[in-house]
Amino acid sequence: MLWDKEKIKSILPHREPFLFVDEIMEVVGSEKVVAAKYVRPDEFYFKGHFPGRPIMPGVIITEALAQASIVLYYVCKPHIAEKHPDYYLGRVKAEYLAPVFPGDKLIMEVSNVKIMDKAGVVDAVARVKDKTVAKASLVFGIKIDKD
């Protein structure tokens, strides 16, 4: 583990129960971040999605990928990320390929397509073990308070 939850929380503004990055496993220069989310049986969304048949919602997988993207942004632009700007997700193209269940370790690989001061484009893949469960292209913006 490269980053634990405390370090992640020093960068991400999200908090439980809406923090979906548990650890950073790998950082490849400014090109890629590999993150993990341990999908616990008591996740809040399993209560309704679905009763008796818990499956991680695709939108939550997308949110987890977006949060991992912020870590990649930090790696690329630490001088801005350290000021805790607002991050907003602008556009998502996603495919959901397999269900994610309680107990799974969701591994997220987020790759830099283009990251600039005020915006970023990343390609992301989520997998459980060796199986790809989702792929997405994310576009996000960054707004610093004094803008």
């Binding site: 602008g90 600039m116 915006a119 484009v121 576009v139 913006g141």
Partner: protein, 80 residues
């Protein structure tokens, strides 16, 4: 620059900004005429860079506001 490169770029831009390619006039301003916001503009740049394996410097991005300007910019990049 080959006509097929021009057509490919027009198609790529049209897909991102979600307008039919025939409505994408060379001098239409992405922001004023086509409703492109800053994030879609970045998406166009990123798609362009990925497809043609070039880097567009951040300072050049605001100068590219029309399809004609993209094609003009492309001339300097030796894209075939």
């Amino acid at each position: 620059m080959a006509a097929n490169v021009e057509a490919d770029i027009a198609k790529m831009v049209a897909e991102i900004i979600e307008v039919p390619v025939e409505k994408l006039k060379p001098d239409s301003d992405f922001f004023k005429d086509l409703g492109v916001d800053s994030l879609k503009a970045i998406e166009i740049v990123a798609a362009f860079e990925k497809k043609y394996r070039v880097i567009i410097p951040e300072k050049d991005i605001p100068k590219i506001r029309t399809l004609a300007q993209i094609l003009e910019y492309t001339k300097g990049l030796n894209i075939k």
